[in-house]
Symmetry: C2
């Protein structure tokens, strides 16, 4: 371990007295280190307006106790310099701010056996809390495919798409990580206590906010940047025009991650934000887990087979047989001579080919002549 | 009229003895004119294999009679040089071939009062014959918006999207044109006889195939190029992976028309071809008629309002009030002092702002402190 106890305690302190995503305090901690920034906060609390509130909370902070309490409950605090620190988070240093939130966190609270530096290939599956059953189904199927392919799914813990994504990954024996806006020990929403306990025991639950912290709107906005930073790409499954999932997509875009969107019915408000994102070029259209793997895989990996139309019976015909088939009327029968004229082939050859086509059901012979067989009539698509 | 009777009759003859989209015969007619190409066909029928079949039919051709019969039934034959000839069709000269079909037609058979050189701004709305009710609904709504905006809708006459598009345009008192693979006097499919009669009486029904011609597969492929050529852009509403609508989209793309696709549920096979097209960059995603107008309109016309999220109550708050609101817990109440700390504002100011926020229902005061109001709790979207 290369991080000194003093630095770790300093970072816990800063974490306790600041809000997640506090640009000034986090930025200076990144530049100066925890110990030095804490000195600044103690000695020059009026250096910047942003420091005043944080400095005011220093007296009540009990970092050792918070860290011990957490450890007793299986919660660790991972900071830059730790083996477990994911270098992908450092991209937040250059990602600017959204809603006045941003920067590399001073540390992350983690509960669960998955090491967050070893998420491997990870992908965020996010979307609306007020998803439709369509959105839930797509998110679940997609997460299952990703999980089964060895990818780690990352999401929040909200109703709707978040829940469906974790569930899909777990069902497929895949790995999945929940990043929360509140403390990792707080089941929010309460209805997801069981899921969060399962993730905390077998996967990982992560938060920038210290244990015990409440879910505040502002913390959701700060949380979204972590979901984007921890993953190679973000898939938005359903999102209305005003949706937090689009905030996550913006963060992903800023960090040059791949942003993907799942289309849905254009009459569904739950897909409106995603359609807008695709339309504006802000996201690639994906329809399934394989599409995601194709976009995110390293070159040569997961190359998706070009989706071909299912082979139709006519694909197996010779070119000349097809030429004849194309010249046979759909409904009203025509003579072999007429078919030959349209096809531009000799009458004898056409008679022979028509017999062969009839054997395979491509055409049928009526007393008045030839027309397409029943299957061909019903599958012809103008 | 600048087209001589002799040239017109020559073109009718060529039209009768060749198949729609016959590359060689149509290409040479374009280069040499109808009179000269007919001489070639008569005098040197063995010049090219493609000529043999056509030349063999010359003896039986009765062009004057076909033209007179057609005229008696209100069907005219429009050829290059006529005032009514749409110059947009000439783009087919450079559009190559698909499925061995292509080229500028030698003429078009037209039934109905709309002059095909005056379609004005026209847009093709095409899609699967086996559409879903979702696809029909979207096609109908879109065509109604386009029709009401003064655009001419162009489509085939098949079941599904084609029918829904014509119906939508007619409902909105818009103009709509059906381009057929069979003769303009043949109701195909039979179930659309009434619609085709309505279009023939009040709009226009168009075909390259002479009156009486049967619907052959090969003629649908030739027909698709006309739909693309007559319009500024093609919208594919629903299309399975193997769908004729994608053939129309390819023609539109070759002629540098705008290709658009309507997304749908990813679980719907009827949308699979459209998603693939959007994914591959072959079509812009559109969700409604206004999207189409924005993409096709001349610069400055039909500029779509940027779709904004509906204004939320919090948008009307001052920045400081929002700062306080963002610091109020979602569920478990917190004291005003705690809210002030998180917000980084003075306690007195925060008390005042909380009172104001409570009056508008943004927050609520419980015995144990402040939390978000019910509306805010239910609309917060992680």
């Amino acid at each position: 371990m290369t991080v000194s106890d003093e630095e770790r305690i300093a970072r816990v302190t800063i974490n306790i007295v600041t809000e997640p995503g506090d640009l000034r305090c986090l930025g200076l901690t990144r530049e100066l280190g925890g110990i030095r920034f804490l000195e600044v906060l103690r000695e020059q609390p009026d250096l910047r307006p942003a420091f005043v509130a944080a400095a005011g909370r220093l007296a009540g902070a009990q970092p050792e106790r918070v860290l011990e309490d957490a450890a007793r409950r299986g919660i660790r605090f991972v900071v830059p310099g730790d083996d477990e620190w994911p270098s992908s988070l450092d991209d937040l240093a250059d990602a600017g701010m959204l809603h006045a939130r941003g920067e590399v966190p001073v540390g992350l609270w983690v509960r669960g056996p998955i090491r967050i530096d070893r998420l491997g290939a990870a992908v965020a599956v996010v979307g609306s809390r007020s998803s439709t059953s369509y959105g839930d189904e797509v998110a679940g199927d997609m997460a299952a495919v990703l999980g089964a392919a060895g990818w780690t799914v990352v999401s929040g813990a909200a109703y709707g798409v978040d829940y469906a994504a974790h569930r899909g990954a777990v069902t497929a024996d895949g790995r999945t990580v929940a990043v929360l806006a509140c403390g990792v020990d707080r089941p929010y929403p309460l209805a997801h206590r069981q899921m969060l306990d399962h993730l905390g025991e077998h996967h990982a639950v992560v938060s920038e906010a210290p244990p015990g912290s409440a879910p505040l709107s502002i913390r959701f906005l700060a949380r979204n940047r972590l979901i984007a930073a921890l993953t190679r790409g973000t898939v938005v499954v359903e999102a209305a025009v005003r949706s937090g999932a689009l905030n996550t997509a913006s963060w992903a875009d800023r960090m040059h991650r791949t942003v993907m969107g799942v289309p849905g019915p254009v009459v569904s408000a739950a897909s409106e934000g995603v359609h807008e994102l695709i339309r504006a070029g802000g996201a690639s259209l994906v329809t399934c887990g394989d599409d995601v793997l194709e976009l995110l895989g390293a070159p040569g990996e997961h190359l998706l087979d070009v989706r071909r139309a299912p082979e139709a019976p006519r694909d197996r015909l010779t070119i000349r047989a097809r030429q004849v088939l194309d010249a046979v009327p759909v409904s009203s029968p025509a003579s072999a001579a007429s078919v030959a004229r349209v096809a531009g082939l000799g009458a004898d050859e056409v008679e022979q080919l028509l017999d062969g086509l009839a054997r395979d059901g491509h055409v049928e012979r009526l007393p008045s002549g030839w027309r397409l067989g029943e299957d061909a009539r019903s599958t012809i698509d103008q």
